[in-house]
């Protein structure tokens, strides 16, 4: 750069900053607070690395005992795996259907009235706040042991989560096309069905697939509370220390989850 472009140098005034500024003090305070938080958490979580040192060899011996994996019960275990996938599919689909009206109420830009918006949001947050595991625990008590309790648990939690994510997808779409459609004098229902839906449909399907995938993973543990599926077999094998059987179950879960993850990811990519 030639000085002809920049002009001749002179002494430009700069703001005076002291070494101990308010922002540095604030940063130090935040660090202190974080240190206190983690030290408290460490004690509350009773982290004892020593226990891990004695526990690891135990696990290694289990792993050694687990080979070769038990295959005699494979048909039963496959049926239990199918049960898990089915629980996730039915629960997620039921949740998606229930979420359609709720997501419209809970989206600020299309809600018919703010008097419906806030209750809808509170309701969805309540559903989201309780994990499907906890719901399943309650439903096992209400409808008895078996996958149906798991379906209900998944459906309720996913209902809240899906509707909230969908409402956010609706709130994020550009307002222009909606305004243009509304300006023709069309009713709100027509505007939502015709102008809004095509814009949000891909992200809605994507969110739905994500929750199905997530629920397959989540429902592998629902069996632990008696809500059927492969999780129940997992708990039984662990209780009876049947390590070869446990090995087969974990391998089945891994394969299923991987296949479902890839299928869902592939489908979501195809949505562009």
């Amino acid at each position: 750069m030639s000085s002809a472009v920049l002009g001749s140098p002179r002494d430009y005034p700069e703001p005076v900053t002291s070494w101990l500024s308010a922002s540095r003090l604030r940063f130090a305070l935040i660090l202190l607070a974080l240190a206190a938080f983690y030290s408290a958490s460490w004690h509350l979580a009773r982290v004892e690395p020593g226990k891990l040192m004695t526990g690891l060899p135990k696990m290694a011996s289990w792993a050694a005992k687990a080979w070769p994996p038990a295959t005699d019960e494979l048909p039963v275990l496959l049926q239990r795996t199918a049960e898990t996938v089915a629980m996730a599919a039915i629960g997620t689909t039921a949740a998606a259907i229930l979420a359609i009206p709720l997501c419209v109420l809970a989206a600020r830009n299309v809600t018919p009235s703010m008097a419906l918006y806030y209750p809808a949001r509170w309701f969805l947050n309540a559903l989201r706040g309780v994990d499907s595991f906890v719901f399943a625990l309650l439903f096992v008590a209400a409808v008895g042991l078996g996958p149906f309790a798991g379906v209900l648990g998944i459906a309720l939690h996913t209902w809240g989560s899906t509707a909230k994510l969908w409402a956010e997808a609706i709130e994020n779409i550009p307002p222009g096309p909606i305004e243009a459609a509304a300006a023709t004098g069309a009713s709100r229902l027509k505007v939502v069905a015709y102008a809004l839906y095509p814009d949000v449909a891909p992200s809605m399907v994507s969110v739905g697939l994500f929750w199905w995938e997530f629920n397959v993973r989540a429902s592998t543990v629902l069996g632990v509370v008696g809500a059927g599926g492969i999780g129940q077999e997992l708990k039984n094998s662990m209780d009876l220390l049947l390590f070869p059987r446990l090995f087969t179950i974990i391998a089945l879960i891994l394969v299923t989850v991987t296949v479902i993850d890839h299928t869902s990811e592939w489908l979501r990519r195809r949505l562009e």
């Binding site: 243009a180 027509k190 069905a193 102008a195 095509p198």
Partner: protein, 269 residues
């Protein structure tokens, strides 16, 4: 409760827009429009010129009933748009089609599906929900696309079209609404010169069919080339309302601060 529909059949002498002494002041004391009177007849192409902040957008909002003027009256198709509420207002708005600077098409739908938005208000709800419009509506939509010269792109997705093509789809959408008035707020501001020319050409041929077109423009030469009449706004008052051929350089200097071009620094988001 919506107020009773007051249909005022005023002596409008065939005018589709008749604004009388419209004044609008935004709090605390920003005079957006001061005693603006404007009459537009069917088939007229009126260009509204003026620097940013001159009151163009407020005028357009008043004409669609989105903003209510403090004083004065606005008759659109004989209806006092300031007095009607609810369904009557919906009906009145249906007679006025809007074209936006950013086109506002539904990007994942095809051109012809976007044009069908103009038929939403009349179509039965079940047809809208299953996206199956009556044959008459579909044919009308195609005819509208034909009018703006885009029949060959009818089944292309809106986001695959160029800016100029998208704006012509928006014009076709306004035509499908079968409105008597098309209001276009800076329809070519985000287009390149060539696309701007085709869009204005389309608007002019639409006006030739008897629709009144009111468009706000930033470029004086475009207004002179395409419009029948130029209405010049400055600081909320009409400083000139004359046939496009009679607008002279001195008047333009009056509208803009220099050389007939809007002052860059005066641009507002």
């Amino acid at each position: 409760m919506a107020a009773p529909a007051t249909r005022v059949t005023a002596p409008s002498n065939g005018a589709v827009i008749r604004a009388l002494d419209v004044t609008k002041t935004y709090p605390p004391a920003v005079a957006a429009l001061t005693r603006v009177s404007l009459t537009v007849h069917p088939g007229e192409f009126v260009a509204v010129l003026g620097p940013s902040g001159a009151g163009k957008t407020t005028l357009f909002r008043c004409l669609t009933g989105l903003t209510r003027p403090d004083t004065g009256s606005i008759l659109v198709n004989g209806t006092d748009i300031d007095r009607v509420r609810g369904r009557a207002l919906g009906r009145a708005r249906h007679g006025v089609a809007l074209i936006f600077q950013q086109f506002n098409l539904i990007r994942r739908l095809t051109a012809v599906e976007n044009v069908l938005v103009g038929r939403l208000a009349q179509a039965p709800t079940w047809r809208v929900v299953i996206r199956r419009f009556a044959r008459a509506d579909r044919q009308l939509a195609l005819r509208c696309l034909d009018t703006v010269g885009l029949l060959d792109r009818a089944w292309a997705r809106a986001d695959r079209l160029s800016g100029g093509q998208q704006q012509r789809v928006a014009i076709a959408r306004a035509l499908a609404q079968e409105a008597t008035v098309i209001l276009a707020d800076e329809p070519v501001a985000s287009l390149d010169p060539e696309s701007a020319a085709t869009v204005l050409e389309s608007l002019r041929s639409v006006a030739a069919t008897g629709v009144a077109v009111v468009a706000s423009l930033h470029q004086v030469h475009l207004a002179r080339a395409y419009a029948d009449r130029i209405v010049a706004l400055r600081a909320g008052t009409i400083v000139q309302d004359a046939p496009a051929t009679q607008i002279d350089a001195r008047t333009l200097e009056q509208i803009y601060d220099r050389n007939g071009e809007p002052t860059e620094g005066a641009e507002r988001p």
